[in-house]
Each structure stands twice: as structure tokens, then as C-alpha cells.
Symmetry: C2
Subunit: 133 residues, 2 copies
DNA sequence: CTCAGTGCAAACGATTTGCAGGGCC
DNA sequence: GGCCCTGCAAATCGTTTGCACTGAG
């Protein structure tokens, strides 16, 4: 899975996975994506979904979320933004505040890393879970 | 594992796990902690390490890191701080820049969550990996 | 026709769980 | 003596891999 060369084929599986992910505003897990895609391609394998999500992410077409949790989640929205996670129901939503690149500068001045990126993950309780909290 | 009540016992296993974790400035995975602790308590079970790390984290004595990656990592340093992760060797280091609570305020104004916390995770290449990069 | 991509099933690795025995309170 | 906690092993769950077949180019 290291060669993203020009021999790469744009298969219907790849197409449908990308399409379906960009259609929703949620941040589905691999299994949720599998279920979505299965409605269009009933014989697709779970392994294929995993592999294609990985390739699509490496191509920069979708993004693999850097939020913690047991399962990986994906996002079809490539606009730079942060995320928030409900500690009750585990859903993930977008936070569209401007990316603060100053953070990277201050971080750079206090460690020996070449800093490439950063991500802010908020946690809280979503409005659906609040009444029960 | 939901009752952190007063009947709780402070066992030697719990003591050693806490001690060993606070002794290092790295951010070890459960297996690394298991190996560290095994030098003191050779008969300890991996399950016990998992369970106690969980309890210690819930007690606020150590913290479970919210960084992504295949394995969970723990931190014995409870001073609020951020983290950076090397994309090559996967090591995690501390970033001691001041926690920016303003971020939570801006996030609160654009979503329907009761925001409880936030964490910034930087990613980059550490000085050990830079020469090879 | 070729070879990247697919479907399927088995393998894997991290974590969790079930349970009988052990030892603090 | 009760029961929380332990050690151990089996179970679970997300993800990866191996492989023969398929279909895009």
C-alpha cells in the first residue's frame, strides 16, 4: 500500500466510497461507511473498504480523523477545521473556528521537532445527550 | 469498573504502576508499562495493568493520552500540557505552552455542545528522525 | 492480456472479560 | 469472613493480510 503511482485504477468501489463519504456531514467509522456503501455495492468486502479509505486519505481526497476512540473515523470535508467529540454518545462534529497556526510557532520554540501539523480536539456533551446528563 | 468508592484498596500493584509511570518522562504504552512493572512484580498480569491504569486515570492520578495511534499511552505528569507525536518513530513528547482556554470559548459559540475540555496534538518529526528524513 | 484491485476468510494485536483463588480490611 | 483485586486464559473487536479470481485499461 505504498505506491500511489499512475497505474492506479479508479474503480467503482473507490468511486462509491468517496461519493458516499462526501455525501454525509457526519464522521462515520469504517463499519458505518461499509454499510452505506453496501447499499450501492452489495458484494463489496470490508477489506476493500479499509484499503480504499486508506488510499483516498493518502491521495488527499478524504481525511482520516486524528481523534481518539476505539474506531477510526473518516471525514469527506477537506476544509481545514477542528473536531469535537461527545463523551456520552461518541459522535464527532465539526468546529469551524479558524486554524491557529500561531500554536505551531509557539510549540516549535519549545521542542526539537520539525512541526508539520496540529489538531485541536474538543470534548464535551452534545445537545442530544445534555438532557440526560 | 464503575465504582470508585471508598472500599477501594491501595494494592502494591496499584502503587508500583503509579510509581513507575511517574518515574519516567516518556509516555509509555500499556505493554511498556507492563514490562517496567514486571521488574518489580514479576507475577503481575497484563489484565491487572490495564485495569489499574484505568482506575488511576479515573482517580486523576495519571492521565490517559488522547493522542491517536494504535496503542493507548499514559502520562504520569498531571500538569496541564499538550503533546507532539513523531510521525516516523511514533514517540510522544510534551509541549509546555500555556493551555489556551480561549479556544474553548470560540468553539462554544459555534456548536451545541457543553464543552468540557480540549487538547492540542501536534505532529512532526523529532530530532532523532530528522537526519534520516 | 496484464496486473492492480477485489472478495473472502483466516490471522493479528490491543484490549476486555470471566472466573476461581488470594489476601487486605 | 467478606469481597475487592489478582493472575490467567479465553473471548472480543477493529484492522490487516494472503490468496485466487476478476475486470479495468
Amino acid at each position: 500500500m505504498d505506491k500511489l503511482d499512475s497505474n492506479m485504477r479508479w474503480t467503482s468501489q473507490r468511486q462509491v466510497i468517496s461519493e458516499e463519504l462526501k455525501k454525509v456531514k457526519s464522521h462515520p467509522t469504517v463499519n458505518e461507511i461499509y454499510e452505506m456503501v453496501r447499499k450501492k455495492l452489495p458484494r463489496i468486502g470490508l477489506g476493500t473498504v479499509y484499503q480504499n479509505l486508506d488510499i483516498l486519505a493518502k491521495l488527499g481526497i478524504i481525511s482520516k480523523l486524528e481523534v481518539d476512540g476505539e474506531q477510526k473515523r473518516f471525514d469527506g470535508d477537506m476544509t481545514p477545521h477542528y473536531h469535537i467529540r461527545c463523551i456520552k454518545c461518541k459522535r464527532v462534529d465539526d468546529i469551524f473556528i479558524k486554524m491557529d497556526r500561531e500554536l505551531e510557532k509557539s510549540a516549535a520554540s519549545c521542542c526539537d521537532y520539525k512541526i508539520l501539523d496540529h489538531h485541536v480536539q474538543f470534548s464535551g456533551i452534545c445537545n442530544k445527550c445534555l438532557p440526560k446528563a
